[in-house]
Symmetry: C2
Subunit: 339 residues, 2 copies
Amino acid sequence: MRKKLSFKERFELVSRNLQEIISKEELKKLLNSKKQPVVYWGTAPTGKPHIGYMLPALKIADLLKAGFHVKILLADLHAALDNTPWDVLEYRYNYYSKAIPEMIKAIGVDVKELEFIKGSDFQLKPEYTRDILNLASLVSVHDANKSASEVIKIVKNPKLSGLIYPLMQVIDEEYLKVDAQLGGIDQRKIMVLARENLSKLNYLPRIELMNPLIPGLIGEKMSASNDKSKIDLLDNREIVKNKLNKAECISGNPKNGLMTFLKYVIMTIKKDKNEKFIIKRAKVYGGDLEYENYKEIEKDFINKKLHPQDLKNAVADEISNLLDKIDKGELKKLAEKAY
Amino acid sequence: MRKKLSFKERFELVSRNLQEIISKEELKKLLNSKKQPVVYWGTAPTGKPHIGYMLPALKIADLLKAGFHVKILLADLHAALDNTPWDVLEYRYNYYSKAIPEMIKAIGVDVKELEFIKGSDFQLKPEYTRDILNLASLVSVHDANKSASEVIKIVKNPKLSGLIYPLMQVIDEEYLKVDAQLGGIDQRKIMVLARENLSKLNYLPRIELMNPLIPGLIGEKMSASNDKSKIDLLDNREIVKNKLNKAECISGNPKNGLMTFLKYVIMTIKKDKNEKFIIKRAKVYGGDLEYENYKEIEKDFINKKLHPQDLKNAVADEISNLLDKIDKGELKKLAEKAY
């Protein structure tokens, strides 16, 4: 059913929209030598997953199309190490293990092609622990701290768990038997730590694929712990509209979370579906606008041919259309217990 | 064969020569409620065990006499966490697992009454690791660092393993199913960490028994990594004599490693055997001296009635007599591989 892609098409699919790849040469070699390479993306069930997760979901879709076997790590122990209370951990895990597949389905990927793995199912094995201790004897407190700094919640009097967190992520690459890891650019220091240390344990270093980060709607990194800056999967059309109305979006300046989401998520989906992005506008204001790619939108926005409010309305509709595809019934019940 | 001891005699035996007990009240309660309480003493196979280890060995003898079941933890993983290279770890473990029983036998304790446990046999179990991660989410980096500071080797750019070390010692108390832990006073901060945190994991806090530290012969803490400051188990009569001749021992000042060893080890053994400590002296210098307890020796030394050289000769003889009881044949072979 699916047409066979050329090497160039596979490489283009895997690398598009990424902010960094370590290294491109290794990725090319992998695509040339393996028909079905293995990659993993991990997420720790901490806060509530938001629509920013659509970005890795799209990349996962790319990887599947490029012939990868994709493993999704639901990292329950990592969540505990990152200040999620142990007593709510199971509920958070239950929510994520339903929410993540729903998001991936929403963008049109068949989740049957994905493998979901629970962290604690392999991260407590004796051989894994031995490797963690071995790695801990190689990595300085300073370097562990540095590598975790952009990933772990910042708290007063930080706990030791935050320093064990990156070490487990390093060892995960080996125990998940992957060729590559996908993560946000905020994971970069941990990924570099992995590149530097796996070979010292006689394991192969892995290829690291890094997504850009989507800023929050009110200027920050889109955080799972700031309600106003993010759109929740369970938000209805009304709420989505309200949140977008409050979003930072100054006429002429494309540097904001809304535009970034439009660029990496909405316009990527549109492009893959050969659909246009339509902005409905009354005839008196010039009538509807149609765009085939993000660059055109950005150009019009900078030149103030596109008004922030019209853009907000259109993006709100697109997001709500996406969220409509999520089966929210069971998710709502799980959320009540988890949050 | 062994006479039944009264509560008072048991308490006296357990607490003698200790620098601190947390807490005496709990120890009394334990002795009153349990006929055979369980205690552990742990040692990490890092450097080479030296005669300073005779002090915990004597305390272990006391505990056995007081009716305790004693577990000796040979903490191989702790050694790795404290900068012992993983590739020599097994050899060091082999040396310790022969040397420690030999030392305990040398002071007249039946090692059949002791239980020897290898750390990695239980410290890699999934439930143990889960507890370590749980504890790591409770203990701050600052507190882990502080608690390890007197135990871990001081190195430039310290490794994360040094912070995991104390956490494992905390959890060991639970997994070894003991009522009490015996250790040097240098372990105090880790023991306090255990007291403060075990209950947060719904485990009982344990009683902590702390030996004083015996200073090295040249003024430092008797360290397994400084050859001159310590007497090795394999040292012959000649070497022991030479090392003691170089020991710090200024006429009139009893504050040195030699006197401390005499007090806590030699005179404790003498007392238990109802033997006198005899210092051989030519008639021209006043003839032989006989002592029944340490206080008398110290008094004469302070009053300069006992010359440092005569004391050194006598202590050297006592140490060599003790070391003569150690079966050195196999130990020497094991040492060649381990060091």
